[in-house]
C-alpha cells in the first residue's frame, strides 16, 4: 500500500458553470478559509494557498517572469501567514488583501531588479521587458480584482453588473432590457458591488 510520493502532483480542474448554488457554496468556502486563517488552524495556510494561489501567482506573473513570480507568491503567502493578525476583515476581503501584499512585493522585486523606477520609458526601446510603473502594478491588481468579483457571481448578477459598470446602463434600463424586476436588478448589483468593495478594500488595506 505504501508508495513514495514523487514530485507533488498538480491537478487542473475545470469548475462547472457558475450557478447560484455554486456561488453560495464558494462564499461559504471562502468564509471558512478566512475563519481558519484568522484562527491559525492546522491546515489553514494550505487552505489559503489552495483557494487563492492562482490569483496571486497570476498577478505576480503579469509583471515578473515565472521564477520571480513564484518567489513573490511564496513571500506573499508566508508574509500573510506570519502577519495574519494584521488582517482586518472589516476593511476588505482576504483575496484582495493578499493581492495588496503582492503589489508591494512585486514592486520591491522590480526595484531590486533595477527595473524601477523608470519614469520616462525609452520610446525607441521596443525590445526587452515592458516597462512597468508602480502605478501599473496597482492598476493591474485593481482590474484583476474586478474580474475576480465578476467571476465569482452567478450568471444573472454578473450580467447585471456588466451592464451597469461596463455599459453604463441605469438600473431601469437594465430591468427593461433583461425583463426582470427593478428590485432584482438593484439587489444583484448590490451583491456585485459588495464583492468588489471587499476585494478592493482588502487591496487598499494591505500593509499601509
Amino acid at each position: 500500500m505504501a508508495a513514495s510520493v514523487e514530485a507533488p502532483a498538480t491537478e487542473v480542474i475545470t469548475v462547472p458553470v457558475m450557478t447560484e448554488a455554486r456561488e453560495s457554496a464558494d462564499v461559504a468556502a471562502s468564509a471558512e478559509v478566512e475563519r481558519q486563517f484568522m484562527t491559525g488552524d492546522d491546515g489553514a495556510l494550505e487552505a489559503l494557498y489552495g483557494a487563492h494561489a492562482p490569483l496571486v501567482f497570476s498577478y505576480c506573473n503579469r509583471t515578473l517572469d515565472a521564477a520571480r513570480a513564484a518567489d513573490a507568491t511564496q513571500d506573499v503567502f508566508l508574509g500573510a501567514w506570519r502577519s495574519r493578525e494584521r488582517y482586518r476583515p472589516e476593511a476588505g476581503s482576504l483575496p484582495g488583501w493578499l493581492l495588496g501584499i503582492a503589489r508591494f512585493k512585486v514592486i520591491d522585486i522590480m526595484r531590486s531588479d533595477g527595473r524601477q523606477p523608470v519614469s520616462v520609458p525609452d520610446p525607441f526601446d521596443t525590445i526587452g521587458d515592458p516597462v512597468f510603473e508602480p502605478g501599473d502594478v496597482t492598476a493591474i491588481g485593481e482590474r484583476m480584482l474586478v474580474a475576480e468579483a465578476l467571476s465569482g457571481l452567478s450568471e444573472r448578477p454578473r450580467e447585471m453588473v456588466r451592464l451597469a459598470f461596463f455599459e453604463d446602463l441605469t438600473h431601469a434600463q437594465i430591468a427593461e432590457r433583461c425583463d426582470v424586476p427593478l428590485g432584482t436588478v438593484k439587489s444583484d448589483i448590490r451583491r456585485g458591488l459588495e464583492k468588489m468593495r471587499g476585494l478592493l478594500g482588502g487591496f487598499d488595506d494591505a500593509w499601509n
Binding site: 498538480t10 487552505a47 492562482p54
Partner: protein
C-alpha cells in the same frame, strides 16, 4: 459613500480585458516550498511587530536564489464561455474559472524529517447526497516519520444545511464503529490518531451532523475506501 466606489469601479471596468480574467497555475512545487518554510517557523505568537514586511527565514528557498529554473508555469485557460463587451473590453466570463488544486501535500516538521510517504489514498464519491451528487473528494494519507496525516481535497462541496455541519470519519467496515476525525467544511488536513490501523479503518466517510450531535448521524454524503 457608494458614489466613490461606483466611480472607481466604473473607471477600472473601462480598462478590464481578457488578461485580467486569465489565471496561471503556480509551479507544482511551490506549495511544498511554502509548507516547508512555514513548518520551519517559530510559533507565530507575538509576531507582527516591525515594518510589516514579510520576514524571510534563512530556510526559505526561492528558485531564483537557488539558481533553479522554476518549472514552466501552466497557463490555466478560461473556457470558451466568454462574452464580448463594448469599449474594447472583452470580458471572459468566469463561468468556468479554472482552479488549480495542488494535491501533492508534503508536510514536513522540524526541517529534517524523512521524505513524506504516501501511505494510502482514496477517492470519495457522493452517496445519498441531498445536494446534486457533484461533490467529490480526493484523500491522501501521508506519513512523515511517526506522524500520519489525512489530507482531504474537496470539490464542489456545498455548505452544510443550517444547524448542521460535516464531519470526517474513519470506518471499520467489519464492526461499523466510526472514528471521528473532526468537523470539516471543505478541504482539510488532519492528524490520524496514533494507533489507528488503517488496514482496519480503511473507509473514509463524510457525514452531515446536526450541531451538537456526537454519534455518527448515519447520513453520509461522501465515502471511499483507502487503498
Amino acid at each position: 459613500m457608494d458614489a466613490d466606489l461606483i466611480d472607481r469601479i466604473t473607471r477600472i471596468a473601462a480598462e478590464v480585458g481578457d488578461d485580467d480574467f486569465a489565471r496561471t497555475a503556480p509551479p507544482p512545487d511551490l506549495w511544498a516550498r511554502i509548507s516547508a518554510a512555514a513548518s520551519a517557523d517559530q510559533p507565530a505568537d507575538g509576531n507582527g511587530e516591525g515594518d510589516g514586511e514579510a520576514e524571510r527565514d534563512d530556510d526559505d528557498v526561492s528558485s531564483a536564489e537557488a539558481g533553479v529554473d522554476a518549472p514552466a508555469a501552466t497557463v490555466v485557460s478560461l473556457d470558451q464561455r466568454r462574452r464580448h463587451m463594448n469599449r474594447r473590453i472583452v470580458v471572459a466570463v468566469a463561468a468556468s474559472l479554472v482552479l488549480l488544486v495542488g494535491t501533492g501535500v508534503l508536510l514536513t516538521r522540524g526541517g529534517s524529517s524523512p521524505d513524506p510517504q504516501l501511505v494510502a489514498s482514496a477517492s470519495l464519491e457522493a452517496l445519498e447526497s441531498v445536494e446534486p451528487a457533484a461533490a467529490t473528494a480526493a484523500v491522501r494519507v501521508v506519513s512523515n516519520g511517526d506522524d500520519l496525516r489525512l489530507v482531504l481535497s474537496a470539490q464542489d462541496m456545498t455548505a452544510a444545511p443550517t444547524g448542521h455541519h460535516y464531519e470526517l470519519w474513519l470506518l471499520d467496515p467489519a464492526d461499523g464503529e466510526p472514528l471521528s476525525l473532526g468537523a470539516m467544511s471543505g478541504s482539510v488536513s488532519v492528524p490520524v490518531p496514533a494507533g489507528v490501523d488503517l488496514d482496519t479503518y480503511d473507509v473514509v466517510d463524510v457525514s452531515v451532523q446536526a450541531d451538537g450531535q456526537i454519534e455518527h448521524s448515519g447520513d453520509s454524503v461522501l465515502r471511499g475506501t483507502l487503498a
